[in-house]
Amino acid sequence: MSIYTTGKTIVSLLYPLLKAVQVYDVNNDVVINSAKKFIDFIEAQFSTISSLEFVRYRDYIFFNKQRLKYEIDSYANLTFLNNLLKNLRIKSITFLPGVNHQEIIDFADIFKADKVTFLKQFVLKRYPHIKVEFVKAGEEPDELMEESEFTKRTYFKALKVTKNMMQNLWTGRPVDVKSSRRIVYSLVDSISRDEFGIIALTTIKNFDEYTFNHSLNVGILALALGQRIGLDKKSLARLGTSGILHDIGKVEIPKELINKIQKLTDQEWETLKLHSNFGVREILKTRGLDDIAMFAITVAYQHHWNFDGTGYPLRDKHEDPTLFSRIVRICDSYDAMTTARAYQPVPYLPHFALRVIWSNQNRLFDPVLTKVFSQLLGIYPVGSCLELNSGEVGLVMRQNPSTIDLPIVKIIVDRDHNKVDGRTIDLAMETAIKIVRPTYPQIYGINPAAYFL
């Protein structure tokens, strides 16, 4: 069993135990049985692993240094554990060989307490085979910076590769397939290391180079959604590439048509719709028919197919879009809505775009994927500007996986409407601060993306 699977399994066994002690007495069979299952499993692990360490870091749970990803089958367990550790200010828990049934039950029992009582009881009761480390005030590990640098480097390199690829197609020059493949793998690595970090970079929009940023952003959002539903690395690479290449057919559409501000005529609209077809040809030209291209071809062709059977190009009644096409359909719409373009100078606010998607599930979008997408981005997606009851404006920096309507925000405008480099607030923890409503960053001359660089 890999470290990752071991970690996931332990969390899945810890979850019912911690839940059980909140409801039942420690002598109840439910608690005893849950504890037994847990202890049996971890005892078996000690034959190959010397200690079992869980670290909570920036809303991620790491097991023996491997990050446990939020996937649909582990989402509830991980968010519960993350929330619990966060509330109790616990940085890490380590189980050592020799830990026994009673020790586990006693330990689980103190999780019912608030953070002060927990600390007291932990010190009083003494657990010889369980180590707990608490978060110190103002603790900000160096890794935070390192991770963010890697993520940024990956994003901008990916942007450059995407731009080169599309420009080469426009001008009929050969495309560097190797670079484009490698960059997708870097994005997959980046997503698996810090999904919130790279999602934050999708707030980078560029009016003049919409197509490049949009293509990359769709690729990233698709990867994040793909990871959340538990796709393996190979599938993620296929999905990421498909996301990046979904609009590649636009290289065959006249630029003046793409950038037209006025309403398109029927004929122009029909021409624009052909980009789905052209995408197929462009991918064939660029990549031939390798394994990944097969997926990209279907996504390029189907990314305007709606969940209810409508959309373009026309299709047979029994034909459903592939999983990847349904993922890209959502990500494409979200990024398009939240980006300023010639005919849409003021983009949709992220939270509004999400609501549009939510309201159109079953009609335009796959309802299950819509739910997962909403879990991923939260009610106020990263990059949203929020007016707070303190009179300040906060920028959503990351999601709280356990409380999707209470994100972590950075104060960027003070109550006198001055731009500031303010403090970071976890709205799930600082309950006195409430969201009044989302707001437009343009009002303050703010580009949210600047705060993620």
Binding site: S2, L231, K285, Y301, G445
Partner: protein, 512 residues
Amino acid sequence: MKDEVDQIILGLTKAFKALQMYGMNHSSFRNFYLPFSEKMVEFLKKYNQLSLQIDKFTMLHDNRVVYKEEEMDLSVAFKLFKDGVRNVEFIGGLTSDELLLFLDVISQPSKEYDIALGLWECNFSHITFYVVEEEEVLDYRIPDVPVEYVDYDEKLKQLILREKIDIDAVIIPDLKPDEVKNLMKNISDTERELILPMVIKTLTDFLHTERSQEVIEGLIEILESCVNREDFYNARRIAYKLRDYPEINFIERFENATTVMGFRDVLNIPQNELFNEFLAFIGFFSKKSIPFLMQLMPFTERTDRLSALRHRIAYVAQDDPAPIAEFLQNTDRDVLINAIAILGIMKASGAKSLLEPLVFHPDEKVRLEVIESLGSIKQPELVAKYLTDPSKEARIRALRILGKLKYPQVYPVLLDKIRDKNFLNLEFAEQREYFNYLTANADHNLVQIFKNLLFKRKWFGRKKYRVMRRLAAMGLAQIADDNALEILKKGMDKRDKDIKAACEMALRGKSA
């Protein structure tokens, strides 16, 4: 430790070379691989990791050169180095499968293959590697945003109107168990690569919009890969679409001896569905492929499949007997028989003249097939020639076909024959075919003739004559007009046990 590392590197070198030379399934490779794998696992149990630094032509362990090979195609170090791999680390817990996969990746012969990506895709649990990328200065400036007043409430109103959404709708994105289950199934379908039919559909749909050379070439590429993998279901779907483009001879690339003879395994594959898909696919072949298909056919073990294949080749020949006729001189009996059978199936106008010279072929099996084919192309006068054939089987078959064809010209001859005293010396199967023929070609006198045969008084040879009574009774039962049935009923009342038994049996057989 030094010696142990050296031994592992030696093992790696040998296994790598063996894999390049023989491939993974060859025993020689296994002979090199297994000891290498065992040594590696033992080493990792003892030391938990083995880290190798990669240089252009060398590998280093603890800053000591442990491997050197300057021949690019043979150098493990160079293969890794050229794709940017600078360090490889094997970690305790490494399995033999992982090591095998690692070797497989690094021994890929194509120069285009990216080893770093190959290793990445393997998603190893116990092998890590470090890849250097080209360092680039990535300068990116976030565009400035001018201050612009946006009336939030007004904008919101506009958007709600435009999007027709309920802005206050509660978002509860929890998944229900059945939703999770369906999604998981969807993911597993995606991972099982059920994408190919969808790609084919996409590309063929594309061709409805416009004729694109890239798309057609793409389809041909998929077609080739399907044929190589014996995926005739998808191959057939592509071929069906490409038929719309007669100027592209997409099938020509498969019409050669190597490809066609490569289908040998498919002929005897257990699944009928797969065989039928194969049959459907070769329906797209042209006459050019017939020589190869003819050579392929004798490998078919099942008679039903052989028959289906003959029909398919007849279809491929498109009523033109010429390409099949070439095989009528073939010395291989199976090929010759197949050619004769296909001519029969084709029912082509020139088939008679092609088959006629074979009527008296010395080989009985060949003659039997000729009779069948002559029957198929309705040439009873040639079939009739077999009534005196030395082979009983040939005679029986000829009688059967003549019966089916209702060829009255030999009727008087055969009638005389059954009246001949030597008729009783023939075997029952042949005797029966005579009666079948007569019944099938019956004239108004036959009932009376059968009646006479049935009721004939025999003082000597009664026992031998029983069979004549039975056949006559059966003939009457087959004719089954009022008169014939009346005779049989009367026969039931006869005191002669043989007559009674024959009539009883015939009537019972009829009612059954």
